[in-house]
Symmetry: D2
Subunit: 401 residues, 4 copies
């Protein structure tokens, strides 16, 4: 179904469902890729943007530069002139759209978490596999050049055998107890809190860099247990009987901590919190292997710190590697050494991977398989919290779910 | 001459002369601005790209997304349907293009250094002023959110009276003595070395943040005095009589150091080098005032370090401020707190400033006036080196040039 | 029993049992205190050093500057002219010496861990309490000025309610698989590995700064399971039947990870490892509270990083506080601001605390009570590992042990 | 004249003139050396402390642990039982004491700056050379393990040819305009300001690490030109006619900036200030060579950052080397890797060098020769400021002074 433009570049026509934070990030990636990766075998074409709120969606369409607007995702999925469906709606809508898109033979890029439940994510994967389409989960942090370097160092054995992985994703927007009770803080809508929002990224990075999980155990806490109702949900006065602002219960976690053992014997330590003052978005990890270590912090995403045990004895120390050199992934597309890139570029690289995979007729990495496996770990942690015990990943096997 | 699109957004049609490193950066800015600053009163329209090499320019046009191609800049400048000329050619071509563009009534965005000589830059400014067009010099580093915060802190008096400005712009691509003798290393073509390439940015930042220069004195050095001729310039064998690779003399500086006294009494210390291993592009400065200090390093461009003397006695220390909060310039256009931006974004902000200035019928900042004043300082430093003495900026006054 | 010197300073005569790493650190503290804290109400007098190996102990005595030598600790404990017994032998000897010292009415400074088992540590505490002597456990890291500042900020409520404590103590001397099987790697002698050696410090800092533990769960791993026998333990050839160097099993952990919930609701995350390349001795922690955060790394022990949520909106960020100002603990004894101190100074401050406590007739902090409580946590973690379940600290209550 | 103690260790009996900041630092070094460097061929014996104020000096004697007190330095210098004179009085007294000590055949350790003028420092050197005694200048920063590593890397050619040296010594105690007009701020007593106090250390480090200076030019500024008289110097009311606190003129510089060219072609950039908020004592430098770079900041004195151009292409970056490993200078005397030392330890190493030099019958490094050469540079800078021109070091040759 790929079309050829007059300059003979093959393009894939994209229909994007959702247009908020992630929709903006994805749109920018589709805009940037043809310029910065003009040599790619396939380029995205920003065909249709879809949102239920016609006014908001039209504003986004015009701002982001999509050709057409739809307000019903089923229309988009059904269109013959669309090759790829990009899903970045709230998580609870992923399942239905993805399954339908697969049935319509569309390739699918779906934001993480893949679905609200492990079972749903498996349904999505099955649908995509049965339809024979390409499927990708939006774990964008994999596409930082520094993370790519980390992957390369691990794969080439330059860190030796991995013994430790410790990671934390810390934010601080929930520290203020007067921050209102938005939908993300209600279990019935959001499913979970920091763990699925932030922890999901850590789990994917761990799988990407270290390997599969063997067993996990976790704990969570909600530090602020009641919050003011959003103004639109308050009664006429906005006050309760004692003349206080009306409050409601927070039903998801503010923070989650968990430990893991990896199949290959490494120990994992994880933490996700939205109540860590001073951390706007610290997505950081460290790996210790038998021959060296590395560490990363997304707030300084262009840097990777690396240590090798075989450096000369008098000059051993963590090196701050600025990943903008020719030797680093994606650098040829951007700017000279020392000229950094930002958050949004991870999505451009993600789209590049998807376009390349489709052109090469292979599944992209990370695919829905990675989305499902991430969900297995998250649900295992959840079970470990409920049952206050170690949960082995084998318990999450399909028959057992 | 501004046109209205069908959605009633006013646009300015841009003709860009040059398409290499800076042409790419500018093109990206023109592409990004309508999406990220959709509310701006004027938007750029990527009308014509111009380059002498038709094949190369056409490839760039297609890649960057310009509507049309021209190979003769005079054609572009003469066109009635062009509102703004963007000049990012090699520096020696700035003068002629800018003067012609001004005469044709076009607004002008010109890369730094404004011209090869102070006299030329003054000619350009005069032409622009006489034509009544808007003119801007491309000192993009001003447009980092962290630099904007620095400016705000200084202007609000939160650092008190400024006593010290120290700055350095360090790169390392000339450390390798086998790096070839490219045109940038020949005085007849490039005019100068690290000083005008890197030092120009430091001088502009100093003027922006501290104020005008009173007097300067400097020194320069060329550490690698001969380099291999580029392969295309070598004779048939590429070797000289002793069977060595042919080499030629480097005629510009590898590094420059200079001191300055500012009109308001602050002391300035400056250094520019392309021979500083480990520094890919360290554009860094520190300001010390009577009430506090701040410092910036472009390799970590999202951060500003700030110190206040009136912090509580037991918790005084430099704060690492990640300039991605609501309180920081441009943040509303980009991503949530903690999600960083990169080098290219400075150009997007630069274009926003130019579009806003035109819409508001004022000169942008930095204008050609800033380009000229920067050149005054650079040429004063040059004279101080030749004559081995302090040079007062009053000596650079127009009558004295 | 305190004596008066001719300059009327009261002194306490110390008998020190042990003279290796900790003996050296303690000796330096006794030497330094009279000079740097000359105003203290009591000063130590380096009376007797005791070690079983006469030659080694005499060398240490002469080097460290003790007045007399003994080779039998019972003789030291029995002497009438000794006021304080300092125990820094291998851990398995603590119990007997401490109990005997208490019975002889001596004050006791004992290195951590207080004893090999929780039960033993309780016996020690009981003996000291029954004898009415002063008792101190050597958790020296409490006495870093930066840790004292952390304590002050927490106590004054400047961080608000504590939500997170995360800590790690990482070293790398066991990464090399050819490092020999020293006694510290044998369970029968050392009791435990990284957990009791390094983790004990983290547990004490957590209790000091956050409060008591509610429940814990942990895991451990031994990455290198066999190591070469030390040369003195090998057979004549030093080789086994296959002509390999003889190896023996490592019976303690290389690394331990555990999670905790504190009584006041904070979440704790802990990690201790001797297999983390690049970390010579990273004893680091971070606290997140409702009003701010702080963090510390012993490799930069003069610094505390602090963040406050109520800083002005545009300049929020972690401050690097160099804890050498007048406002910081102990600074008046040392050097001007900006002139740092080192590892050994923590012991000088520790001895100051003990001397002050004795002079003021109060128990020092940390006392044996803190040693016992730390042991409770360590043993709870150990049980949690063996039984693969959460262990509540109430299970460690004396009746339950 | 060296004596033997009963344990056969040779000792040198020290007479110390002065007992304030430096007297305290030196005393600690004499106390620490026998314990930490017990194997040194010579040990200092703290024989006599001398100070004009009998009460103050006696208190210091008792506190620091000197055997005897003298109040007339001539008495100390004349004593037969003294081997070494340690001079740490105010600078204007150095000349007379040092010359007299040399004539009495005593070895001399003199604090920097060696004297108030270059001529005086030369007189001191001549006296010491004629007397055939050993002489040392107290440039203690040379003795940081990290600086020793820097020296080693340079000497072994691991940085290649040195192109850049940039250094700054920043403090902030003069930022407050109400800080009183102490003697250090009066030219007639202190000679000079930040330049001789702080800049002297930078000049010595530059000579130590890079080599001799060729030419210099500098500038200075006094930001706060009047300060309150110290309370003891005010009239009865402490107010002037307008009821203001009495103020007097500051006659030394608050800050100095200078540039230098080294004999071997490197460029030098220097800055010393006591008006740089946030810098308690930032004594920092960076060296760029043809094969690598290194940098140091005394506020993190245990660390050296090092970069090599021949590191693998994908992992190039500055390494943070914690200089506490076996491979680093002095580490065997102190603590295990990762356990840091502080400011005072530089003096212990300095005394070790002096004792070793005397035992080996060689001049220590740095000797008075280094003190004189430092003074040559400082006085050349001073002349360059007065005469507003470059000054070549050849102008400072003895005949020219």
């Amino acid at each position: 179904m790929t079309t050829e433009t007059n300059n003979k570049k093959k393009t894939l026509r994209v229909g994007m469902i959702g247009y908020k934070f992630m929709g903006k990030a994805h749109s920018n990636a589709y805009r940037a890729m043809p310029m910065f990766f003009s040599g790619a075998p396939l380029q995205p074409e920003m065909a249709v943007l879809c949102g239920r709120n016609a006014a908001g969606a039209e504003a986004a369409r015009a701002q982001f530069g999509w050709q057409e607007l739809e307000t019903d995702w089923r229309q988009v999925v059904a269109r013959d002139d669309i090759d790829l469906i990009d899903i970045n709606t709230p998580s609870d809508a992923h399942l239905e759209i993805a399954v339908e898109a697969a049935r319509s033979g569309k390739h699918i890029l779906c934001e993480k978490p893949l679905a609200i439940t492990l079972a749903d994510s498996r349904t999505m994967l099955r649908a995509a596999e049965e339809a024979g389409v390409k499927h990708m989960t939006g774990f964008n942090y994999r596409f930082s050049p520094a993370v790519k370097l980390a992957k390369k160092l691990v794969e080439e054995g330059r860190l030796g055998k991995i013994n430790h992985f410790r990671a934390r994703f810390l934010q601080d927007w929930l520290v203020d107890p007067e921050f209102p009770l938005v939908w993300r803080l209600k279990k019935e809508i959001a499913g979970s809190g920091a763990q699925s929002d932030l922890g999901a990224h850590l789990v994917d990075l761990a799988r990407y860099l270290v390997g599969e999980f063997e067993e996990v155990i976790g704990m969570t806490e909600t530090f602020v247990k009641e919050r003011p109702l959003p103004s639109e949900e308050r009664g006429q006065s906005g006050k309760d009987g004692t003349d206080q602002i009306q409050r409601g219960p927070v039903t998801v976690d503010d923070a989650a901590v968990f430990m893991a053992r990896f199949v290959d014997g490494a120990l994992g330590s994880f933490e996700a919190s939205r109540s860590a003052p001073g951390h706007r978005s610290t997505n950081a990890f460290e790996i210790n292997g038998s021959k060296g270590s590395l560490r990363f912090d997304f707030e300084r995403m262009n840097e990777l710190e690396v240590y090798f045990t075989d450096d000369a004895e008098d000059v051993q120390g963590f090196r701050r590697v600025l990943c903008t050199d020719e030797a680093h992934a994606y650098s040829e597309a951007w700017w000279p050494p020392g000229h950094t890139i930002g958050f949004e570029h991870t999505f451009t690289h993600e789209v590049l991977e998807f376009m390349s995979a489709i052109a090469e007729d292979r599944q992209p990495s990370p695919s829905f398989v990675d989305g499902v496996k991430c969900q297995e770990v998250l649900e295992a942690v959840e079970r470990s919290i409920e049952e206050r015990r170690w949960v082995n990943l084998s318990e999450m096997a399909e028959s057992g779910s």
